[in-house]
Point group: C3
Chain length 343, copies 3
């Protein structure tokens, strides 16, 4: 069974990461791919490995939407076909670079590693909210399996331990009410709602001495690991009407780099302070824990390691189960297809 569900959209890059008219090389789902920015404003995605002698095409040149290999100069178009041979012989027809469907949406480039015929852009999850001028989109790499990162994000109770210094959540989650919901779109929500609690430290300046607040942390998950976090803070007793700050909505989108490392796509306000805070939370607080969990697991499967299951885990476990079902369904479909062919 493959490590990855293949018939799903994954985020490959923020659009600003691919230079206009240029190429980006990135390891995704254990393979090297290049994302090319073409002259008509669309993008192409090719295996970053020349079919001749396997060197990275991304080290070559992109000219008139043709990618020229840096080693012996073969040229490939957006379909992966070899369309140019600099030496006196026709381009070899059998030299094809693999490709994947790629769609530019919500400031990101989404790719579909499965059957191209099933790649419907309508199923890209809604991240329209990321398209805001005052926000900066970033990415970092976490040295852990992407489902360990999902565990982290779908169980925010860890904020009371890991993020005390950065977020100063003040113990309010301890008295929160958790609800785990699967909506009609198939998204899994992990919602924490706190009523009339002590405000987090960062909100104190906007409130009077001793004021209490209603607070909510709602995390939405789409397979494989595209998450959105909604945070709200309202003066207590106002039915969530009198907001202390405008509601916040942020992407936390994870894409496997390898079986033991993950791209983490996020955003933050376009200020140095916000950038520094985001890095503190992700790099100094979350990353060492996720990496330690990965190192402890090593090659061992998550379930084989017999993890203890907590009530606060419910949403994370539901997401893991969903992925397991999807992987099994794909493995079953593949088996059927092979049997039908053999039939």
């Amino acid at each position: 069974m493959s490590d990855y569900v293949r018939n799903l959209w994954y985020l490959g890059a923020w659009d600003h990461e691919v230079p206009e008219g240029g190429m980006l090389s990135r390891t995704l789902l254990d393979e090297k791919w290049l994302i090319a920015s073409l002259s008509d404003g669309t993008y192409a995605m090719l295996a970053d490995r020349c079919p001749h002698r396997f060197v990275p095409l991304s080290k070559g040149r992109l000219e008139q939407d043709v990618i020229h290999c840096p080693y012996h100069g073969l040229g490939f178009d957006r379909t992966g076909a070899c369309v140019h041979n600099p030496f006196p012989a026709p381009p070899p027809a059998h030299a094809r670079a693999r490709t994947m469907p790629v769609v530019h949406r919500h400031r990101g480039l989404w790719f579909w590693p499965g059957d191209p015929d099933q790649a419907d852009p309508a199923s890209i999850p809604d991240f329209a909210f990321v398209d805001r001028a005052d926000m900066q989109r970033s990415r970092l790499v976490i040295q852990g399996h992407y489902e360990l990162v999902t565990d982290n994000l779908m169980d925010l109770t860890h904020a009371e331990f890991l993020h005390v210094a950065s977020f100063g959540v003040n113990g309010s989650i301890f008295s929160g009410r958790q609800s785990v919901v699967t909506d009609e779109s198939g998204a899994i929500w992990n919602n924490w709602d706190m009523e009339a609690v002590t405000p987090p430290m960062w909100a104190a300046p906007m409130l009077g001495e001793g004021d209490r607040v209603d607070q909510w942390l709602h995390m939405r998950w789409h397979a494989p690991a595209a998450m959105a976090l909604a945070v709200g803070l309202a003066r207590a007793g106002t039915g969530r009407k009198d907001m202390v700050v405008p509601p916040m909505l942020n992407p936390h989108i994870i894409t496997p780099e390898t079986r033991t490392s993950s791209h983490y796509f996020y955003d933050h306000e376009a200020t140095p302070e916000a950038e520094a805070l985001a890095r503190q939370v992700f790099v100094e607080e979350d990353e060492p824990m996720i990496e330690a969990a990965q190192q402890a697991l090593g090659e061992q499967d998550f379930w084989a390691a017999r993890p203890a299951i907590l009530e606060t885990d419910a949403a994370a476990i539901r997401a893991r189960r969903r992925l397991m079902q999807l992987r099994r369904a794909e493995a079953g479909a593949e088996e059927k297809a092979i049997l039908a062919e053999a039939g």
Copy 2:
């Protein structure tokens, strides 16, 4: 068959390595363990891996003899039981951390990785002599299998080649008499006795011009790799009565860190010179040889590499054979237990 004999005492740390009321994390026999110093003066040893999401418990807090996980705050007591859940649900009964018996003796913390019911502290080998105020206990890690370190220590002839610069043994071992003895306690002794030989360089200032000495090097071995070296130097012809310096007795205790690296516990006089000499001998002279042997072997088994056997090797080989017998006995006992259950 396991790489390690499990029903034996191993030295995990010198006692000063564990902060009072704190924790030490250490890789022992290929696994991460923590040693916790408890309020009653005893110690506990838990797998350094939270049963929830596998992060190191040693990165959390030890409070009132309960170890609190740094990730989501579960608390574990000395028995490995989960006794605290910070969120409104009972501590999960199935969340148990593994433990090992640990005993504080001879300034060290000795652990028993096998069947706890067989863990009798009376079988800890006698290292009472290490408890001396003028000695400093140290540890270093050698990049080699622990039996390669034993080979080194149980065959001191290498001193004539490797330690000429440091110890200046002056060729006396070449004319020594070796005897290999197994005593009634099961300890294996490799004894070198030199009579009326040129003294080692370091002893020259304490002797007259041309004086000769009787010298002995007696190394005692207990399984798995706990060694003690007795060195004596007496004026020749005095029946070992007129000692040039008081008899010396030092621990050389080896504990596997992984299959290819070893903790080396030793001591030396509490002076910078003695520390520097010990490091020269162990780090600059012995370590490169042992590491080179390890690299040459790689994944290959020692016996499969068909080592040449020398007479001077006799004690080292006897120790290797003993370990092999113990490993086989444990493998046999395990097999019997499985068959009896199946029976």
Copy 3:
């Protein structure tokens, strides 16, 4: 089937790399070997691994043509026999170091990793031309399988892409005529001949404005990977008689270090500029491509990766086929020998 053809001569070192009366340690075909310079002017080659405890003999001393192990002092002669034991016991007869035939020829030390009885020095390929006082012989290690380096050298079309900055070939190869020839000695030649083309940049100072030249690049290959490159440049229309510079002849001899790295033996004029140019070409231009190809292949076999085959590849592919045949022949011979023994 072994990764290597064993009944062939390989270049192990240039002669100046082995200090007179000293030893050189080198990894060749995945194993550590030492080359010793003996008192009669010949050389010996022993496995650089003591048969006693596997440490590198090359870290010991070479005295009167006997190699003394640095650990416990056993001494080995050029045949690998143990001829000295410093302790009172005879040298152990079963302690033998492995050896290989080694021949000093063409300023290099050539070894034969196969059946010693078949090692005929007459089959060392002719590199007599390297013995020139104005040339400096060098070596570097390339992080790629030796056949990937052969691919590079047996298909010089890559110069038009990779070596534009260094050699400035000016596009002349694009209009060249390629011929692939196997001569009566079994050598495979990949010849490029260009007539009346624009000269390369470095030759411009020696020519008049607008002069055209005949140019040739002839690469000769002997198994496993011993290549020689002949380069010529003559004024066009003189039937290759009026040479712009004297004909050039250089060794490009590749010896596997491991399955994924290669020793590259080459030479260059004994000037700092020539040395710098050679390093630019090999280290900055060729090496990254070969290394990238190696990394893309990983553990995958070259043919299993289904490389596209180009016409310009013909010689490289012919060399690969020859090695495949040789490997198969050796595997078959081995099988026969085993069956005969069993018979």
